[in-house]
Amino acid sequence: MLVALLSSQYPRFAALAESWLALGATAFGIWQEGRPLVYWPAGHRLVKPALVAPIARGDQELGDLRVAGLSGIAYERRLRADAQLISYLLQLENELQLMTADLVTSQDQQLALYRLTHAMRDHVTVDETLEAIVAEAVRMVKAESGYAMFVPGADQEPLLVQQPAGTLHDEQAWRLYWQGQARERELQLPETAGDLKDQGVFNLLHVPIRVRGAVMAGLGLLNRPGGFDAPAIKLTRAIADQASAQIERMLLYQERFHQAKLRTEMELARRVQLELLPRSLPRVPGLDIYANSRPAYQVGGDFFDFICAEGRPFVFSIGDVTGKGLSAALLMTMTRTAIHSKAQFMPCPTPEAVMRQSNEDLYNDFTRVGVFATAFVGQYAPGNQKLTYANAGHSPVIYRPRDGEPMLLRADSTAIGILPVSHCRNQMLRMAPGDLLIVATDGFSEARAPDEELFGVERLLELVEQLHTGDARQIAASLFDATDSFCQGQEQDDDQTLVVIKGAAS
């Protein structure tokens, strides 16, 4: 250090020497550790000086000033003052160097933190993020190894990553996590942690990480040469803060991703459901037919279908598969297809036969996935003004004869997929002009008002009584309007599907 100062301030030291020589000194020089560093005039090494004053920094002696040819208290004081001035200069120089070093370290750390943020941007899972945090923290703090953990919500597994793997036993790492959580501040190698020392851990720093206001994660670094001093702790805290921000960003990303996935699934389910519905209403002599389905936001498994084949009786079906979303839409497709193919290709497709065969086909699959489907199948051959139907657990079904009160029709068998054998029987209804059949799904009877009251079958029966004079389309539109106004803008819980059939003049 003294050499460095001499090099940078040589002309000033030379001027100091000249002033001493001018006072009458025969020589002036600077020594360090018993050897001369510089002396004036050349050739006089000041082995035996008359005056000596030490140059020191604190208690440490760095060298001395020497003068030959002068003596006395006044010269001695002056030389000591010169030495003290040089000592002070050295101290300033030293502080400047330390400040510069701190500044460089701080810049390095800022750069490293920037790189850390940048490096973590690409990670979209908690695992990847924790791996990146540990790798960067170990590198930046110059520790030998590290670990990080994250404890998400109750329905997810806690995560722990270690680099290199197996540095600590998992339970040791989790013990540190819980200690950090309890203290809510960093902790160093606990004195009682004999088992950690046995595993070659000679120093350790664990920093709890707050996520969304609570300690939900932690970062630990092990075996830093020289221990975890204040700058190392400060840097690790800064890394933990970055980790906290990154975990929060990633959780937000995952939530948005999950919501988008759910929206996509719902959209797909809605499209499957709507695409499979008949695009036009059938024209059947003697019947006025209208049908419509309105999927809820959380799509259910409603469907209706018409089977009109040349030379065969007209068949229609309506059904509701339990559950919501894409799975309900897929199972609805299976049910609709099973009924459709039987009604279209069976030799004698009576509703009873269609239902029994469909139950047989679907029972095992439905049992495996734990669902069932209510279904109503009706068949009408023009001419005899009679509608044959079979009802597998479907409700509400309302029949209003032209000269009577509306009545609820009971199912004749359980829904498809509940019992291995269907007990469906063909039932008959008169379908002369004015007779009215409304087959709806529970999205109508269970429509909710904001105060949680249900629309209920009684209201449906009353409405049918009021509306029975209209045509099929008007009746359906009024039923949709009535449930809408009952729900007062409340989001539709379940699909609403109905088929309205009214006897008409052929």
Binding site: T322, T367, L408, T414, D442, E446
Partner: protein, 112 residues
């Protein structure tokens, strides 16, 4: 809705009071899933104080019944009030379930 569970002999009993519907189904579904997953489980759902059952609740009961039967167990219902019984009749679920007038008759049937 209020839900009370207990074990009587070898039978897991749940008493449901009030409305058993979409809003109140989750804890009942969780309990049923737990008790019906044991082979040979005997489960009794007492609906004596249940005022209403919707389609979601029916679906949960049917799922529990089928899961129970697959594992050689059984699930009975008892104490259905008239409005609730009508819902079972309308959908013909009265044919799928063993329904008893009260808990005593149901427990006796389990022991036979």
């Amino acid at each position: 809705m209020d839900m009370k569970t207990r074990v009587t002999g070898e039978v897991n009993v749940v008493e449901l009071s009030g409305r058993f519907d979409t809003n109140t189904v989750p804890p009942v579904a969780a309990w049923l899933e737990q008790v019906t997953s044991t082979p040979g489980a005997r489960v009794l759902v007492n609906l004596a104080s249940t005022t209403f059952v919707d389609s979601t609740a029916l679906a949960i009961l049917v799922q529990a019944l089928k899961r129970c039967q697959q594992l050689q167990g059984d699930l009975f219902l008892c104490g259905l009030r008239r409005p609730v019984y009508v819902i079972f009749e309308l959908t013909r679920l009265d044919k799928a379930f063993n329904i008893f007038v009260d808990e005593e008759h149901a427990l006796r049937a389990f022991s036979n």
